[in-house]
Amino acid sequence: MTPADTNTDDMPALLDWLDQFQGFRPEDVSLADPAAASRNAAKAGRDAAQDLPFDADPAGFTRLLETLARKDP
């Protein structure tokens, strides 16, 4: 699998999503309506993931780490 050429400029959309859903509070209205929360989250995810190549394989991440290891141990 070829490492993705991810554009870190995509970060703002991801952060918006995190602000909305990772700042979970029990009284959060979106969690009182899980279906709506899921729809909104899915939309945010679709928006954020446009044109993104898939490269999420964890074994591939290990292979990447191997390439970043010290060359003169």
Binding site: P3, A4, D5, T6, T8, D10, M11, L14, L15, W17, L18, F21, Q22, G23, F24, R25, P26, E27, P34, A37, S38, A41, A42, A44, G45, R46, A48, A49, L52, P53, F54, D55, A56, P58, A59, G60, F61, T62, R63, L64, L65, E66, L68, A69, R70, P73
Partner: protein
Amino acid sequence: MTKPADPTFMSLTEAAAAIAAGDISSRELTEACLTRMTALDPKVNAVAGLDEAEALAQAEAADQARAKGGTLGPLHGVPLAHKDMYYRRGRITACGSIIRKDFRPDYTATALQRLDAAGALDIARLNMVEFAFGVTGHNDVVGTPKNPWNTDHMTGGSSSGSGVAVASRMCFGALGSDTGGSIRLPAACCGLVGMKPTYGRVSRHGAMPLAYSLDTVGPLTRTVRDNALIMQTIAGFDANDPVTADVPVGDYLSGLDKDLRGLKVGLPESFFYEGVTSEIRALVEASLKVFEDLGCEIVPVKIPDAVAVMNRLTNLITATEGAAVHTRWLTERASDYGPQTRARLAIGLFTPASVYLRVLTLRKQLVREFCDQVFGKVDVLHTPLMTMPVPTLAESNMSANPGFADYLLKIGHNTRPGNFLGLPGLNVPCGFTPDGLPCSFQLMGRPFDEGLLYRAGHAYQQATDWHDRAPDLG
């Protein structure tokens, strides 16, 4: 802080050498550990399960093997105990939960198999945060361990019992697991050395999964040398864990005593000192001065801005992958979870797959950027491990109350980036705050640079004596 003539106060390295030399038997050492366990556990609640007869039988077998004159492993006869999430065939592995309280796996974890082969004893199961999902050490369902330095304070988590048992001299070392700081935080809170290895360095086969993309296995010990000895035993490729790396394991022990002259130690210019209290800053800066005195070059280094979001991204991955593991139980046994564990796992059910996959993809970009910007300039990065003194149990008991997510982010501020990036991180104690609780620094390195981190941490411990201090539990 005392150091009486008690064999449990030896380091793991000293204990192994004493057994090999015939100065003490494995049985004597095991009895001494069991005596402390029995006497002290009512105060600190480290032990999840103990079979004294089985522990003594292991010790007897080790002594008999030595008497026969066979080749001894490097950990021969030394009593260890581990976080209650490592599977051993036929033995209960409860994972700090009610849900798994009767679970008996039918195979043994690779890490335990390797410790067995090195001759180590496995004398007890140690308490942990429920399903390893928490950084303070609280466990709402099976009980919360207490910090041996002051039992009003938190232990850190999730390897809470591992930290408590090793600091209390109930055993000579323990495995923990680290998904967001769960080895380094209890090591820091309990005054121990803890290594979160590079992702893929140690097999997770037979270790309870929390987040497949982040989970790592590593030891908590009283000295850096002890830690390197255990890591030397458990590290390496395992066909049963496809993410383990096929990178040779260096000789961590033989390189320990090389001097550090010329080593470039990075001082972060941003992020890692955000929110650090004055007493922590003073102790961590003093530890940096020790490295300077050892001949290291202290190099200010710019930290990539993206590190600021890694804490939350690590949470996202953990919640999402954790929710996948727990989906059935969340549906069928929701009331058997503690409120915080249930709430945090439930968040993961709402993560869109596209966002999750995108975060994992972004991770690859960010680790390249971090290694280029940081390790292009320095050999190791030196940071505070926690930003605040060890909180009390009461003030850190967030359960699922409003604000718990922000509080947990604060506790894991300096640990989670290492998990997100997959980089190794070594926690080393560097003194005590005015309330008598331990303080630590963290050394981060390039992927698979555990050997260099051990070398630097060991040099620091040779120049200081914080690791010789022990909590006074009466």
